[in-house]
């Protein structure tokens, strides 16, 4: 099954910057917000942790349709479904590849982009930590959404629509950790809840995703 991760990573690199592009989108969202909201440092500092989380989430979202749609279109998914590895494993590996190409770079880049949004000093560590814990959940939940919409022509927007409500709990706790951290408040409770969501999503959602794919191929 490792072969699957390797293949997906290789495809991401060959496609000309699969790694860089999620990052670039994140950068661009953080750049656009000041254009919309205005350049005052105080306002930006206040909304910075939330915008960073929303930006990371949107960057994740935008790359979700890469997870399964390409494999569906060229028939690979049919073939993987009949291959001697469980579909649950396939789905998990796909989510892992998505995290490595999207969630991980986003986490590493968040502090840098925090500078652009005038993020208060103590916030940097907390934003990074909360993203590190929360982005795996985003990848797994996103894979589930991709599995639901895989048969549909250009289901991109529908996919977003389905996935975004599922992202809300992760977003709330993740942004809460960041915001409290940035203001120097206690963060243990939301952090624990965030970790709980991630653990549960990683453990359980692959079964739902595999079931959805089976139905879609039928």
């Amino acid at each position: 099954m490792i072969a699957l991760v390797i293949r997906d990573l290789r495809l991401a690199i060959r496609a000309g910057g699969g790694f860089g592009l999620g990052l670039a989108f994140f950068l661009i969202v953080t750049v656009l917000v000041p254009f919309g909201v205005g350049p005052e440092g105080a306002t930006l500092a206040k909304i910075a942790p939330g915008i960073l989380w929303v930006g990371a989430l949107l960057a994740c979202l935008l790359s979700l349709d890469r997870i399964l749609a390409l494999d569906y279109e060229d028939g690979s998914l049919d073939l993987l479904a009949t291959a001697p590895i469980p579909l649950e494993g396939v789905v998990t590996m796909k989510a892992a590849a998505h995290w490595v190409t999207t969630g991980l770079p986003l986490t590493l880049a968040a502090p840098v982009f925090g500078v652009l949004l005038n993020l208060p000093q103590p916030g940097f560590a907390w934003v990074t930590l909360s993203l590190a814990i929360g982005t795996p959940a985003l990848s797994v939940i996103g894979t589930f959404g991709a599995a639901l919409t895989v048969g549909l022509k250009r289901g991109g927007l529908l996919l977003s629509l389905l996935v975004l409500p599922l992202y809300v709990p992760t977003l709330i706790f993740g942004a809460e950790v960041s915001r409290r951290g940035a203001m120097g408040m206690e963060t243990a409770t939301p952090l624990l809840l965030l970790a709980g969501i991630t653990a549960a999503a990683v453990a359980l959602l692959p079964f739902a995703s595999a079931a959805a794919i089976r139905v879609n191929l039928r």
């Binding site: 072969a3 495809l11 049919d78 073939l79 479904a81 009949t82 291959a83 191929l217 039928r218």
Partner: protein, 215 residues
């Protein structure tokens, strides 16, 4: 280990297309499916491969014995010919020697370092067929495998099927053209076309359970 099918009915988009199908394929045998466009060949093959459930009837073999190949070859445009095959070899656990042998067999060795997107239609198809060889599975279920192939490549394909049968494998192949496999049995699906439910044809589960509900 035989592939046998009895009283099978298959549906597409909820509409039954074939019914009352029964056939058996023993090791070393090939079965060629024929029938006009739209009769239901593709639907039947997808059902055999386990990609969709049958409407009725039984199949003797688990989907795990089957290697399926259809119009879409499952090739990645940016990976090279060798990488594409190596991936499937890893998935099926067959290893590098199988890859080399398959490329040899399908006359792809020269194209090995080329990305799949730079292949012509027929070269792509050959690569798709080479994938079958690396699966190492006993039953090949093929949907119009020789589309876009020239005569030499059709012969190459015939050789590959014959080799597979000689090793005890089986094959079920839907096609409109002559494959040069005179020893294979031919099944014409025209006779199994699903009748309308009014005339005794099979109907879907929903129809069955709701018939009579509107009296």
């Amino acid at each position: 280990m035989d592939l046998s099918v009895s009283d099978l009915a298959v549906a597409r988009g909820g509409v039954p297309v074939l019914e009352g199908l029964g056939f058996a394929v023993a090791g070393g045998e090939a079965l060629i499916l024929r029938g006009p466009n739209g009769i239901g060949k593709t639907t039947l093959l997808r059902t055999l491969a386990g990609l969709q459930p049958p409407l009725a009837g039984t199949m003797s073999l688990p989907a795990e014995a089957i290697a399926y190949a259809a119009h879409a070859d499952g090739l990645k445009a940016t990976l090279t010919v060798a990488e594409n095959l190596a991936f499937w070899a890893a998935v099926y656990g067959t290893g590098a020697s199988a890859v080399a042998a398959a490329m040899e067999r399908m006359n792809l060795s020269q194209l090995a370092p080329r990305p799949a997107m730079s292949l012509s239609a027929g070269q792509k198809r050959r690569l798709g067929l080479a994938r079958l060889l690396v699966t190492g599975r006993p039953v090949w279920v093929l949907d119009e495998p020789t589309v876009s192939l020239d005569t030499a490549s059709v012969a190459l394909f015939g050789e590959a099927v014959r080799g597979h049968l000689a090793a005890g494998g089986m094959a079920v192949i839907a096609t409109h053209i002559d494959l040069g496999l005179p020893e294979a049995r031919v099944l014409d699906l025209g006779a199994f076309k699903a009748r309308p439910p009014g005339e005794g044809g099979i109907s879907g589960e929903f129809d069955r359970s709701f018939d009579g509900a509107f009296a």
